[in-house]
């Protein structure tokens, strides 16, 4: 019952307080700009038929494997990166702010720390999912207004642009639907949960730097041990022979989420609840 009280508070005040509305609007604006930018690209290449999947691939698809070579500088996949680290920034401070505000009073009254921690995990998941819904909603709306075809398949011209050269994106166009939808969501969710866990041991700013490094290193290096790779359709084993597996990605992300929730709860049992001034 007390867990329900915590969750009710976090899913009302935590999700809909004034500061959050500002973040939601920024997020909507960012994806509107990204969608309009892509619409401009479609005009410039004179594409006549394109899909919702093309929009998602362009914005959430990430980048192909980077192979360091002379004259081939590493180009940061900004859209992909901002999507992940933006959400991670939006979820960074809530836990600490709440704990130093009314959170500690709620913990004292509820008589246990677990409910508060689990509630923050639920809040974290709700914000990540909510921000993805805003992103998808904005992209779908603008894609629809631009007369995109209602399909998550990838158009051949997009395959050529996003993954030129030897790659199976054209033949596998329908099979990357999870990679352009659920897997980016799961990756952000997993890393944001890990970030919350880190915030119990490190300063929030340091935890955030760790998260950014994790995603940047994922973009730089194709490796099954760097979770950001699973959030890039262009790194899928359906598209490139040395790519990462969709199922492994789902398993790793679910494991990270579960492990962070459980470990965080264990750590929080002995966590010193202090103020910044202390």
């Amino acid at each position: 019952m007390k867990l329900c009280n915590h969750i009710r508070f976090d899913l009302t005040y935590g999700l809909f307080r004034r500061e959050m509305w500002g973040k939601y609007i920024i997020w909507l604006g960012f994806f509107a700009l990204a969608s309009l930018d892509f619409a401009g690209e479609l005009v410039s290449i004179e594409a006549t038929q394109y899909t919702y999947g093309d929009y998602l691939l362009r914005i959430f698809g990430g980048m192909r494997e980077y192979v360091p070579a002379p004259g081939e500088p590493f180009e940061i996949p900004y859209l992909w990166l901002i999507n992940h680290v933006g959400i991670l920034y939006f979820t960074l401070h809530y836990m600490h702010d709440d704990l130093e505000g009314t959170g500690w009073q709620m913990i004292l009254r509820s008589g246990n720390r677990t409910g508060w921690w689990l509630s923050k995990c639920v809040w974290n998941a709700a914000v990540v999912v909510g921000l993805y819904l805003i992103a998808w909603g904005t992209v779908f709306l603008l894609a629809g207004l631009n007369h995109a075809v209602w399909s998550f398949g990838i158009s051949p011209f997009m395959a050529e642009i996003m993954a030129p050269g030897p790659c199976q994106l054209i033949s596998a166009s329908w099979q990357v639907t999870l990679e352009i939808t659920i897997l980016p969501l799961l990756a952000t969710l997993a890393v944001s949960q890990v970030q919350m866990l880190l915030c119990l041991m490190l300063r929030p700013a340091v935890s955030y730097v760790v998260s950014i490094v994790l995603f940047l290193s994922s973009a730089y290096k194709l490796s099954p041990f760097l979770p950001g790779n699973y959030a890039m359709a262009l790194r899928s084993d359906k598209i490139i022979s040395n790519g990462v597996s969709q199922m492994t990605g789902i398993e790793i992300h679910l494991f990270l989420i579960l492990a962070s929730v459980v470990l965080g709860n264990l750590l929080f049992q002995k966590y010193n609840i202090l103020n910044k001034e202390d």
């Binding site: 007390k2 009280n5 508070f9 005040y13 307080r17 004034r18 130093e100 505000g101 009314t102 500690w104 009073q105 709620m106 913990i107 004292l108 009254r109 509820s110 008589g111 246990n112 720390r113 049992q269 002995k270 010193n272 609840i273 202090l274 103020n275 001034e277 202390d278």
Partner: protein, 210 residues
Amino acid sequence: MPIIFDRVTKVIGKHKVIDQVSCTMQTGSITGLKGINGSGKTMMMRLIAGLIYPTEGQVIVDGKSVGKEISFPPSLGIMLENPSFLNPYSGYENLKLLAGINHKIFADEIDGALSRVGLLENKDKAYKKYSLGMKQRLGIAAAIMERPAILLLDEPTNSLDESGVELVKQIVQEEKARGATVVLSCHDASVLADLADEIIAIQGGKIAEA
């Protein structure tokens, strides 16, 4: 509920913020904590409340070790220095939110607490519009509203004018009369002298005199 510090040491980072403190706070008494900023008064309150746990030794509340046998004392009201509430909510809504965790008290009792600290007329005003003194009063109301067996007040007279200080003194005495164990820290030595049955002086995390 008696509170016993049994050779309690607390280390945070590399700092020993409480160092081998042993003392007893008797049921139904007012214990004053005296010391300069950073001496360890607030840490002692946090240790009693279970917000932090001892590195060595134990804090025993009503016969049970906090952090080992119980996570938190079962009936505790606490106001820490510079209380913080939700800005967009009114004073009343903030207290209602906290009271809603245990459902021990309802609207009448919340109003009663607000009345005791002189905030009833401003109960519907947003917290962000409260003055420092009003915020302090709301913190005291939150601490006393559920009639706790242990009441911890950390610098309750901060930001209060003379009448506010008198009000705090009255509330503390009423709580003692009700049977609560009160622990009070205050910069103003005269407030402690007026109220406390016993004064514990803290210096550098240690008891200077008892």
